[in-house]
């Protein structure tokens, strides 16, 4: 018996998260290179959640020096480091969280100049994240990243409000690890091998032992076969009446000549289970609309030598569904636990796994053909080619959950925002209906204020004595300036009414405060 090795240090350290995203997900994280713009409370809290689980590397860009105010919101600075570059100190303290992570910083020039000079290579990153970046800088950055096809995450913490916005040209979702999925058992389009196996079971000649341990899946299929014969149908029961008919047949099958009174008093676990799982077993197996959309997607239809591997595999899967799959996705191959003896269960698992393997093989072959057709196969490294099968296997297992995500670009946001406002139903002035959009609009006004006055409304040094009157006066001035800006920016009546005065007032109150607990969220 070979010695079972214990896990290594990293596997122990990351154990709790490996149980969520697996070794595969961890590898992807460790290959991640993130750029953070801003070294404030918000950005460092974001980075913390990436560094702790083992992000590959990060670069933090910020030209400012640490102030005493920073010490009242940012965990990754220290009062002894006031007047030192924020980027350098936060980088150092973040690296202490996890020595496996590589971190660098850029403390000059400021991000605006960096963008103007155009010498900084953003293409080296997988993701760029901004934290409370002023809008005019953001717009320049976002259009640059859009053309580089680098995903951008825009985060903002403003008083008690926070926003997150994602800009991504195209993002592929492959291993979603969703909760609570419906098993892929296909009673409505049963596997040939499954049918053969069921046909070898004759309910009339079962021993008592065999009957007690009959797996619910076979029970359900036998019931279905009988129902279909009775009603001369080839699909599954749909209406209430049909379901009742089905349940009646199920009831009949649960009787066995060898059952005595004591058997009948106890419930038959397998038959109870069969009844209980009807809703998730008697389902129509179809291709989800998300997948059909992928099949119809332009990137799928216009496959080329330059296409991402994702679209090659989607194409291969599409070919499969049009041929061997007979209109269905590859079999997932997983069978949920059911009350039965080991052999019966294992036999069922083998049937489904066998088919899954076959389907995967077929799709793999289609993939190779496609890659060859588009002159991609010969240029692949031997390593890449070797891992293709593994890759196809992952796609097949997750076939139902594959998806693509595309967002709008930020540059066109004002127009989209105005269009969105036109679509909001005119609400009454009751404050019940504060939609999130109202906050977003309010923040947009604050951005406009910043453009004009180079600070946010309400963001001015507070008096350090008890004199709050001058603060209050300035606050009122800011508030009315803010409302004025609102009138200029959103000129239609409909747009005007979407500006909620109480929200605008509250945002003024915040003065772009970076409350730590909000940043931490």
């Amino acid at each position: 018996m070979s010695k079972i090795s214990g896990p290594d240090t990293k596997q122990i350290q990351y154990d709790r998260q490996l149980r969520l995203w697996g070794d595969h997900g961890q590898k992807a994280l460790e290959a991640g290179r993130v750029c953070l713009i801003g070294a404030n409370a918000l950005s460092t809290e974001i980075l913390k959640a990436l560094v702790l689980p083992g992000l590959g590397s990060f670069t933090i860009i910020d030209h400012q020096l640490i102030t005493l105010e920073d010490c009242g919101s940012n965990f990754f600075v220290h009062p002894s480091m006031i007047d030192q570059p924020r980027a350098r100190v936060t980088c150092e303290l973040l690296k202490q969280l996890n020595p496996d992570v590589h971190g660098t910083y850029v403390d000059k020039p400021c991000i605006d100049d960096l963008l103007k000079q155009n010498t900084f290579d953003f293409a080296q990153f997988n993701v760029v994240i901004t934290a409370n970046l002023p809008l005019n800088t953001l717009v320049i950055l976002s259009s640059h990243l859009w053309s580089l096809k680098i995903p951008l995450l825009v985060a903002r913490a403003y008083g008690f409000i926070g926003t997150i916005r994602l800009q991504v040209v195209e993002h592929h979702i492959i291993e979603a690890h969703p909760d609570d999925t419906i098993p892929d058992l296909r009673l409505d389009h049963p596997l040939k091998s499954f049918v053969n196996h069921c046909n070898s079971v004759d309910f009339n000649s079962l021993t008592r032992e065999q009957h007690l341990h009959m797996p619910s899946l076979i029970i359900l299929y036998k019931t279905l076969q009988q129902w279909q014969k009775q009603t001369n149908r080839i699909d599954i029961p749909r209406t209430r009446k049909e379901r009742d008919e089905f349940k009646q047949i199920l009831e009949q099958l649960s009787h066995h000549s060898a059952y005595d009174a004591s058997d009948l008093n106890k419930s038959l676990e397998n038959f109870d289970e069969a009844k209980r799982v009807i809703p998730s077993r008697l389902v129509n197996t179809t291709i989800p609309s998300t997948i059909n959309n992928l099949f119809q997607d332009r990137s799928c239809l216009e496959l080329s030598n330059q296409s991402h591997m994702f679209w090659f595999i989607i194409n291969a899967m599409k070919l499969f569904t049009q041929n061997e799959g007979q209109g269905l996705l590859p079999v997932r191959g997983e069978v949920p636990d059911m009350v039965t003896n080991t052999n019966s269960y294992v036999k069922l698992v083998e049937i489904y796994q066998e088919q899954a393997k076959k389907d995967c093989e077929t799709i793999h072959n289609y993939l190779i053909d496609l890659l060859k057709q588009h002159n991609r196969f010969s240029t692949m490294s031997s390593n890449e080619a070797a891992t293709l099968h593994e890759l196809v296997h992952i796609y097949c297992k997750n076939a139902t959950f594959l998806n693509v995500m595309r967002t709008a670009s930020i540059t066109n946001e004002d127009d989209s925002l105005k269009k969105l406002i036109e679509q909001i139903p005119l609400e009454s002035s009751s404050d019940e209906s504060e939609s999130e959009v109202s906050w977003y609009i309010g923040l947009r006004l604050c951005d406009a204020f910043y453009e004009k006055f180079n600070r946010y409304p309400g963001e001015f040094p507070l008096s350090t004595n008890d004199e709050t009157n001058s603060d209050q006066r300035q606050l009122e001035i800011d508030f009315s300036d803010l409302k004025q800006i609102g009138k200029q920016l959103f000129n239609s009546d409909r747009q005007q009414s979407s500006i909620r005065e109480n929200i605008v007032e509250e945002l003024c109150r915040y003065g772009a405060s970076e409350l730590h607990s909000i940043s931490a969220f």
Binding site: I4, Q17, F75, T342, R509, Y510, S517
Partner: protein, 445 residues
């Protein structure tokens, strides 16, 4: 290191907080008065954080950076390597040391003038006089039993006026957070007003237990094989000596279990057993990441801040969070049970047939109130009598025979009051028995 404690430095340092404390806004709590005094107000508030693990570390950081500087933290655990992916106040060199102590040290170092007092204890080590020192209590616990215990402790400290209403100043708000993988929840509990932990026990998912016949005879999943080794083979073979129980953290123990579980699996054509899987089953490991803990802790911290300052309306009062796919949040107030055995301040009434055996009564109590190991006493003819107790072998022997006796034989008459204690409670529950005659149907609910 300390930084100057003068007003002007303090005011400058906490500029971000001051903007919401010194200014009113339309979303403030009606009791809120913006004032420059509020900042010092926060500094005088004593808060208690229970737990210095995934949530605890985040909570401590958040509270310190929201201006609180008189913080106590309780945790009985020591630091493990597997904690380091999220319990960021600890490093590899801290492994084996007290979580509470190291967490306190780190924070006091990083955030000067913040005072953190660690307690390497179980929460049960303290009594009401300890807990009453705090204005607000925040929990980042990993056990339901512990939550129920602190919940009942705080209820036992409530005072009632002549109309049986809770005196508001006797309430210590309890903020409770919990996480599991990408899911989490946070809630604000004001005993007497909102639902409490006991009111909403149904919200906790039931524990997964495999039936014995599956384990013994019909294994199908790799989990069944592991459970067979831990519950049947290990007690039989005692591989590391008599009386040596399974230590989920021992690499050797787990390796032994993996070896034998794999053998059983192979006999039954089952695959999937490896070290990580096996340890997960043995320790009932719950997956965890830093980000979920950060979210839930920050929600709790914001509520603590609101409670201490009234600067904004409180959460009403239970939030669920899930970021498996996108971001999902739902906030709603679960109903407070009028008959909650803990927070409703009326004794529990139990109906039982007059000819029933004591065992039946005990079973009913355990099932209905999700008790773990009840301790039942009563007063008969002015004398205190222990009816049932399992905490020591001696008491178990002494009280076990009571189970077979009828209620009559034990002297339990109609309307008699019993006191029922349990590890899940800090104080006993009053239970009054109502005896029904054999003619009436007894509904066991």
């Amino acid at each position: 290191m300390t930084i100057p404690d003068d007003d002007s430095t303090k005011r400058k340092r906490w500029t971000h907080l001051r903007r919401v404390l010194e200014r009113a806004g339309p979303f403030k709590d009606p009791n809120f008065e913006p004032s420059t005094e509020l900042l010092s107000g926060i500094e005088s508030v004593r808060i208690l954080i229970i737990g210095a693990g995934g949530l605890g570390c985040e909570l401590l950081k958040d509270m310190a950076l929201m201006g609180f500087c008189r913080i106590d933290i309780i945790d009985m655990d020591t630091i493990d390597l597997a904690n380091l992916n999220r319990q960021f106040l600890f490093t590899k060199t801290d492994i084996g040391k007290s979580k509470a102590e190291i967490a306190a040290k780190f924070i006091m170092n990083r955030i000067p003038n913040c005072n953190v007092t660690p307690h390497m204890n179980k929460i049960q080590d303290f009594d009401a006089s300890f807990y009453s020192q705090f204005r607000i209590i925040v929990c980042g616990l990993d056990s339901i039993v512990a939550r129920r215990w602190i919940n009942s402790m705080l209820v036992s400290m409530l005072q009632y006026d002549e109309n049986n209403q809770v005196v508001p100043t006797s309430i210590i708000p309890l903020i409770d957070g919990g996480t599991e993988g990408f899911k989490g929840n946070a809630r604000v509990i004001m005993h007497g007003y909102t639902s409490c932990i006991e009111c909403t026990l149904d919200l906790f998912p039931p524990q997964v237990n495999f039936p014995q016949c599956t384990i013994a005879n019909n294994p199908r999943l790799p989990e069944h094989c592991v459970e067979w080794v831990t519950s049947i083979l290990w007690p039989k073979e005692k591989p590391f000596g008599p009386g040596v129980n399974i230590d989920g953290d021992s690499v050797e123990h787990i390796q032994w279990i993996v070896e034998h579980a794999t053998k059983r699996a192979n006999e039954h054509n089952i695959t999937g057993i490896n070290f990580r899987f096996t340890q997960g089953v043995v320790k009932r490991i719950i997956p965890a990441v830093a980000s979920t803990n950060a979210v839930i802790a920050s929600i709790c911290a914001t509520e603590v801040f609101k409670l201490a300052t009234s600067s904004v309306l409180l959460m009403n009062n239970y939030t669920m969070f899930n970021d498996i796919e996108g971001i999902y949040m739902l906030t709603y107030p679960p109903e407070k049970r009028e008959d909650c055995p803990i927070c409703s301040n009326v004794p529990v009434r139990v109906q039982i047939n007059e000819t029933a055996k004591f065992q039946e009564l005990v079973d009913q109590l355990i099932e209905k109130y999700q008790l773990i190991a009840p301790l039942i006493c009563t007063q008969i003819d002015g004398q205190s009598k222990t009816l049932y107790m399992t905490s020591t072998q001696q008491m178990l022997e002494l009280t076990k025979p009571h189970l077979r006796m009828t209620l009559q034989e034990l002297g339990l008459t109609n309307g008699i009051e019993m006191l029922v204690g349990d590890p899940a409670r800090a104080s006993s529950m009053r239970v009054i028995i109502s005896l029904t005659s054999s003619m009436e149907t007894t509904t066991a609910k």
